[in-house]
Symmetry: C2
């Protein structure tokens, strides 16, 4: 098994990326192809004991910067690490591509270079989301700012297969994010998607869900459009960060502020650990004919190791094959459009 | 000035509602018409010193329950407190209507009974939202699950006038909630709305905004569709509540847990005070030919008093007149549709 890793992407590239590759190659016995500037990669590799590990270097001399328009960058920088890594997947030289770089760039490279799986209307970005009792997964969190109702059943199928195969949830519940729990509540998109989701085979669809219930841990797979999903995830992250900051301010105020500071620091560390999704390996772009794992920009070696583990597990569990089968089955079950007799 | 108050709506009705009305009548010298079951209202009024205060009772014998479909309930319960109160505004017997009841019911009564202001495409629900440095306002947070791009400039005008007149912000900045800050980022709706917002006179439009910047306090008025706005607000609320709970759990763990508990309780009280929007009087439904203030369901007497203050201030500042003028001016400035020469 060969996993192509973008060594140039991420806040801590290339040090932590290479360190994570070394850890993963050792822990999981996989081949990790290091894609990027060869001199940089060799300098980093020299810091580690890599004897017996499979860590080949694949040169890529260009880098896509944070400010660039993703689609343009992918088209004009054929020798950038994410394009080179995507092409390895496209050719079958690698079974997955992992990056901690620009999400937009990874999406564009995945869609333009690797291409959609047969029968898939749109790929979706799936991510773990921390709840009161653990993690659920949510998709789409940003691959498609605009969706049509018929995309949502496919998102539900992809999410369910991912939750089963990678998160180990036997019969994941699926709900659609809406502005009210009641049946019939929601935008036109939600209302139409609900009707399609109700008759989608192979998923455990349980209706609408509101933010509060997701956060309370009431559902395994949340489906939504990429605009709402992106705002949902970012709002929760920003609020959690603000609350931690405000709590710290308030705890370190007053006469026994040093005790407060001590307790607050320890508590905040534990809170952050509860919310930390790095063991889940970041987001996965599903619906392409190859696998793309998008780790957090802030990924350290441990997060990269887990992103590689997620890629490995998805390959072993044949997530893509199962998605292909699920989508085909659902297509066959889809009732033909009924024309109203006038 | 006469403000019609729905005495039957809210978690703490009728006690806290009547108590808030008494406080407001005393503090602001306004007439507060108490709309609801007369015997209940008189029983509550007897608990207070009301000599010299203008607190007339307007009978309404029906109550809209939480589970009812708003539009149906409004149509089939003409003698419910929210319908009776809306009709007072419609007839001009009251200048505003305040309720802590079912938001859906208040929206339906406002739209069906009071009706839209001339030139307004859709009314919007405006609410204060706590940020790191204070409060911004956001609209629409739930009156319209589906919007068209041309509604957004009107939301921006209404929000700016409200921020100026009621929140006291001299030249409020307006931004549109999106999944990226960069120009051109967003759903089709956002991209089209941005073009319209850029040429809307009388507003200080500053482009896209992401959740994080809103929470950091970088903007005064956030415009969005009612579906996204509703999910944004509910996600932030639910996350803040979960974080407080988790922090409390983590602080009261370990060897010096009693000290932790003491500090945590005090800190949480201060955090809640910082996030408390009751002084802002809840949400306001703008764009109708009368004013509707929707206080929180959990409103106590103080929150009701502030909701009445917001109504009074909006009337004194002629918010509705200014909105009418702003919308008319913007309509005049709107370029006619350009037809592509084929």
């Amino acid at each position: 098994m060969n996993i192509a890793l973008d060594v140039m992407g991420g806040d801590h590239a290339p040090e932590e990326i290479v360190a994570g590759a070394v850890e993963a190659a050792r822990a999981y016995g996989v081949t990790v192809s290091l894609v990027g500037k060869p001199d940089l990669i060799r300098r980093e590799l020299a810091k580690h004991a890599t004897a017996g590990l499979r860590l080949p270097v694949t040169p890529a001399t260009q880098v896509i910067e944070m400010g660039e328009k993703p689609a343009t960058a992918v088209r004009t920088k054929p020798n950038s690490s994410i394009v080179v890594a995507s092409e390895m997947v496209k050719r079958g030289d690698a079974q997955a591509f992992v990056t901690a770089g620009n999400t937009g760039g990874a999406l564009a490279a995945g869609i333009l270079t690797i291409g959609r799986m047969k029968g898939i209307l749109r790929p979706a970005l799936v991510a773990p989301f921390p709840t009161q009792h653990g993690f659920c997964i949510i998709l789409d969190i940003g691959a498609n700012a605009d969706v049509r109702p018929e995309y949502l059943p496919q998102f539900a199928i992809m999410g369910s297969i991912y939750a089963r195969s990678v998160m180990g949830i036997a019969k994941p519940t699926v709900r659609i994010l809406s502005n009210g729990e009641e049946d019939g509540k929601g935008s036109q998109l939600v209302v139409e998607a609900v009707e399609l989701l109700k008759r989608t085979p192979g998923i455990n669809f349980c209706g609408n869900v509101e933010s509060k219930e997701i956060i309370d841990g009431a559902v395994d797979v949340v489906v939504t459009d990429g605009f709402t999903g992106n705002i949902f995830v970012k709002t929760a992250e920003a609020t959690a960060r603000l609350l931690q900051k405000v709590m710290l301010q308030e705890l370190t105020r007053g006469p026994i502020s040093t005790v407060g500071a001590f307790l607050a620091q320890a508590a905040l560390r534990r809170v952050r650990r509860r919310l930390d999704d790095s063991e889940y390996g970041g987001a996965v772009l599903l619906g392409l004919s190859g696998l793309v794992v998008v780790a957090h920009g802030r990924s350290n070696a441990n997060a990269i190791r887990h992103a590689i583990r997620v890629a490995k597990q998805s390959i072993e569990q044949d997530v893509l094959g199962k998605i292909q089968a699920g989508v085909t089955q659902s297509d066959g079950a889809r009732p033909r459009k009924v024309v109203d007799p006038v």
